[in-house]
Symmetry: C2
């Protein structure tokens, strides 16, 4: 299953959330991730995410698609650089 | 065409970009928008967006899908509130 995940998390919690999401998905923009996940792995990720979030203040939106080929992606401006792989 | 647009824009330019994107799409999270746009309208939006952006520092990612029904959306945490319609 192809996943796009975007979060809006207060700064003090964002480091933890970034670290978590990068264990499951590819980081493509400041607060945006994409990748292939099974339904079980997605549940696991969201279970852990809820532990980090303040449900009243933070939010996560997940878009799910059975087939990535139905989605075109276009990037304008700065692409995320290779530093991401080191962090 | 169903569009998801996410931006990563420096704070001093973000107000302008928000205003622009809201003329074309629905604002669903801090820097995330979705909606139906024709190819022509999307080009128009991106043309105006490039005028606002600093191409070396900012970025926009657009996901395009011919059919929204191929996409499931799941929101965890705070939903954007009605204030958005007033702003």
């Amino acid at each position: 299953m192809y996943i796009i995940l975007v979060y809006d998390i207060e700064e003090k919690r964002v480091g933890k959330m970034l670290k978590l999401c990068r264990q499951y998905l590819n980081w493509i923009q400041n607060s945006v991730f994409e990748g292939e996940l099974t339904e079980v792995k997605l549940k696991e990720l969201l279970y852990k995410a809820k532990d980090i979030m303040n449900i009243d203040k933070d939010s996560i939106i997940v878009f799910k698609n059975r087939q990535e080929k139905w989605l075109d992606k276009q990037v304008i401006g700065k692409e995320k650089n290779d530093l991401d792989n080191i962090l």
